[in-house]
Amino acid sequence: MNIFDRMMSLDRRWVFLSLAIVCVVTYLWDFSVPITISNEVKSIYDRFDSLQEGDMIYMSVDYDPNALAELHPTTYALAEMCFRKKVKIIFGTLSNLGQGMVDQVIRDIADSVSHDATYNGVFYKGREIVNGVDYVFLGYKPYPAMVIQAMGLDFRVPFPTDFYGTILDSIPIMKGTKNFDQCKMVIDMAAGNVAEMWITYGHGNYGVPLALAVTGVMGADMYPYLGSGQIFGLAAGLLGSAQIEKLCNNPGRAMDGMRIQLFAHILIIFFIVMGNVGFLATRNRNKMR
């Protein structure tokens, strides 16, 4: 058995072990990698940056814990940016395990915003985030397409009460807020086909200005919607989250993870090249025989 045969018959567990070693070693080795900002992510940040105190947005947290790694950093960075700028947020989720995600975001950001901070040279004094005044969390309802259509008519149709059981009409920020018309934009953090439902029913039916933050797996599929203008911004995967964190000047887990991504990708490319070289070499040898 020569080296090419060994390449072709390499046990996949050696690949896993190599990847684990590279990732752990890179994580323990403290350095940073440059993060280039793409236009589609910059347009999300620019739209958030243009929001004024008292404006309202709808933030749809449509992911489960299995997509937390890629999408939580975006949710954290953008939610904190809004709370710092005193922009009101309507949180909702169309993912059945998404409620825990929103609850965690609200608790953590409320703690973070209670401290003074400076982002991009602007000083923000710490303040208390109040449920019903700074934000409302509508909770979860199944059948995303129908819920989006119903919210476009009136938030009260699918959500008579918020997540905590309070009637929507008795919540201060919901007074005078009927549907998406009162929101400056909708941002959907999605892991699944909910993103396409927001495009079809949210933007298609009601023309809501829509931005998407999606998992890496979905990233390539969403670019056509960016080209057609159905979404105004797109942040895909951990890279998109890292760009958002960099633009918000709020480094978190996404920026921290990019150096591991770099070396993991180099290793994967190495294995792909190795596999192809082995394949071509053994094929040519078999042909010659």
Binding site: C23, A69, L97, P158, G204, V217, G237, L238, G257, Q261
Partner: protein
């Protein structure tokens, strides 16, 4: 650091290692983690459905009626219609009466199709067709200082046609048609490559986040003053690591034999 934080973080770290152990081979630790996730998710979702959907959207809307009259005297008694349709779905469990469940399914399918067809056609076909053509219709793209937009529009337009032509089987792919078809394959491969690259990035991201969680755990676990709990969880990890070492030794002993699938 509170005890509860320590406990849950430790449990998370333990379950992470249990799950990753599947990369080596199937084992009882992985099975335990897998069944726990499925069980907890199903239980959690059932409670969410009850508290977030049935109570506010059905029972609270019927609460001015009497339960012993099956809320028929409620001022919003029409909410009983979707409730009845929901109950009809449960007849799926009876062989004799499962036909009843076809009624709510038919109604749901009808509504869903009626809602989806025009909107999906508009958002995912017509808008995309227009988007593919818009670039080449706009002459400004070609005669501006930066002509890359025009070139990109032509590539997208021709690429779309070529990729569609690849699936056109009424004409044999020979001569000039073969060139177009091959161009279509290249376009499709570039698309699949982009998707694959993003997928790899996504999968590595999940692993990166788990490394970060494990790192958090090591910081918490080594915090002084954890006493008994710390000892307990270290024992659990000890069992896990002993098993892992045992498997690694067995693996090296089996070297030369055909690896397990």
């Amino acid at each position: 650091m509170e005890w509860s934080t320590f406990l849950w973080t430790t449990l998370g770290a333990f379950l992470t290692l249990c799950t990753f152990s599947f990369l080596y081979k199937d084992n009882p630790f992985y099975k335990f983690a897998e069944h726990l996730v499925v069980g907890v998710s199903a239980g959690y979702f059932a409670l969410v459905l009850w508290h977030q959907i049935l109570i506010p959207n059905l029972f609270e809307r019927l609460n001015d009626g009497d339960w012993y009259l099956l809320w028929i005297n409620s001022s919003r008694f029409w909410y009983l219609i979707p409730a009845a349709l929901g109950v009809m779905m449960w007849t799926r469990f009876s062989r004799k009466r499962s036909w009843i469940s076809r009624w709510p399914i038919a109604l749901y399918m009808g509504i869903a199709a009626g809602m989806a067809v025009p909107r999906e056609m508009q958002a995912r076909v017509i808008e995309q067709l227009w988007s593919a053509m818009r670039g080449i219709i706009n002459w400004g793209n070609f005669f501006s200082l930066d002509a890359t937009a025009g070139i990109a529009s032509v590539i997208i337009f021709l690429g779309t046609l070529a990729a569609l032509f690849y699936f056109f089987f009424s004409k044999e792919h020979t001569g000039p048609f073969k060139i177009v078809s091959n161009f279509g394959i290249w376009i499709l491969m570039i698309g699949f490559g982009a998707s694959f690259g993003y997928t790899v990035m996504g999968r590595i991201s999940l692993f990166v986040q788990r490394i970060q969680v494990l790192n958090d755990w090591t910081i918490i676990a080594w915090e002084p003053g954890k006493g008994g709990f710390k000892l307990f969880w270290f024992l659990v990890f000890g069992v896990f690591i002993i098993w892992a070492v045992f498997e690694i030794v067995s693996f090296f002993n089996r070297r030369g034999k055909v690896p397990e699938a």
